[in-house]
């Protein structure tokens, strides 16, 4: 998985306006006004289904209607990777799935319909834009121990990138 911060709000520009109006900087109030746009690449569709449940955000994701799926683009969970019998079954099923997908596309089935056979493990790419308040909620929920490993990895990376970009908004420890 690869996560890249494409842009974030310039906090100094906001501070300048606050100073003009004689208003003290309040990190909590400013969380509605600071936004981040991220590119997320090569995480599974299983995880992006979890991600888009955080509705106060904007998403645009690589479409399976128009781009062809490839066998190389799947995520293998560590619990399967480390389980010999599980991994064998997983690999065999993926071979059947992709072979069926390719046969259907070759036979003239539109990609948007052939994709119904594709696995949740398939890798995807998307852009996500959200404000600091929504991101903090996402990080709070998805770095919890109960969260699944892949979205925890994603949320941890999002947290790190946002904290590096705008440290003043992320000074509070996220309490559970």
């Amino acid at each position: 998985m690869r996560v890249k911060l494409l842009y974030h709000t310039d906090l100094d520009a906001i501070k300048h306006v606050l100073a003009q109006k004689g208003v003290l900087f309040d990190a909590d109030a400013m969380m509605d006004h600071v936004v981040y746009m991220f590119e997320i690449e090569d995480c599974s569709r299983v995880t992006t289904h979890q991600l888009v449940r955080h509705r106060a955000a904007s998403y645009d994701q690589e479409s399976q209607r128009f781009s062809a799926a490839t066998r190389e683009g799947v995520v293998t969970p560590p619990s399967i990777q480390s389980n010999e019998a599980g991994l064998k079954a997983y690999d065999e099923a993926l071979k059947v799935i992709y072979s069926t997908y390719e046969q259907m596309v070759a036979a003239g089935v539109p990609k948007e319909d052939a994709r119904y056979i594709l696995p949740g493990a398939i890798k995807t790419k998307l852009v996500m834009t959200l404000n600091a308040r929504s991101l903090m909620h996402l990080v709070w929920q998805r770095t919890a121990l109960q969260a699944q490993w892949e979205i925890r990895e994603l949320a941890t990376t999002l947290h790190r990138l946002a904290q590096e970009a705008t440290p003043e908004l992320w000074t509070k420890i996220i309490e559970r």
Binding site: K21, H33, V35
Partner: protein, 147 residues
């Protein structure tokens, strides 16, 4: 009522184009950015025009604007923030506000009689600053003269 731009997403219109290409491309983001730089603003205009025509306004959500708005009544700001969830407001003093919204919300404000007065002052500010001339022309019918 008066609006002053505080901050906008960098390369505002290319950002919309990036979001749109993300849906149709399997390439890494850097390749999409290079492709969009090479093809230039005419291509971004084509993509934004297509998004507006197809009513695929979600791609506009990645262009975010923060403005200081002076002379807006609390009742009006309250109504609009309740109606448009991606419009965020913080009072600075009396009738002066810090507002953050995305370009989709701006289009929706423009099309709604309750939001039009606010949208008009924001679009006027964006036009004067030439922040997003392609969007100003295509979504709001405002032609920005190249200086």
């Amino acid at each position: 009522m008066k609006a002053s731009l505080v901050w906008s997403s960098p390369s505002p219109e290319r950002t919309i184009a990036v979001a749109m290409r993300r849906c149709y491309s399997t390439k890494p983001i850097e390749d999409i950015e290079v492709e969009l730089e090479q093809k230039g603003p005419e291509y971004w205009k084509y993509l934004i025009g297509k998004a507006l025509q197809d009513k695929s306004l979600d791609v506009l959500e990645h262009l975010v604007l923060t403005l200081m708005v002076e002379g807006a009544a609390e009742t009006d700001v309250g109504l609009l923030t309740r109606t448009f969830p991606y419009l965020r407001a913080t009072r600075l003093r009396s009738s002066d506000w810090l507002l953050t919204l995305n370009a989709r919300t701006l289009v929706e404000l423009w099309r709604d009689p309750r939001g039009k007065p606010l949208a008009e002052v924001i679009v006027m500010e964006l036009t004067q600053r030439e922040t997003c001339p392609i969007l100003s022309e295509l979504a709001f019918g405002v032609k920005v003269n190249a200086s």
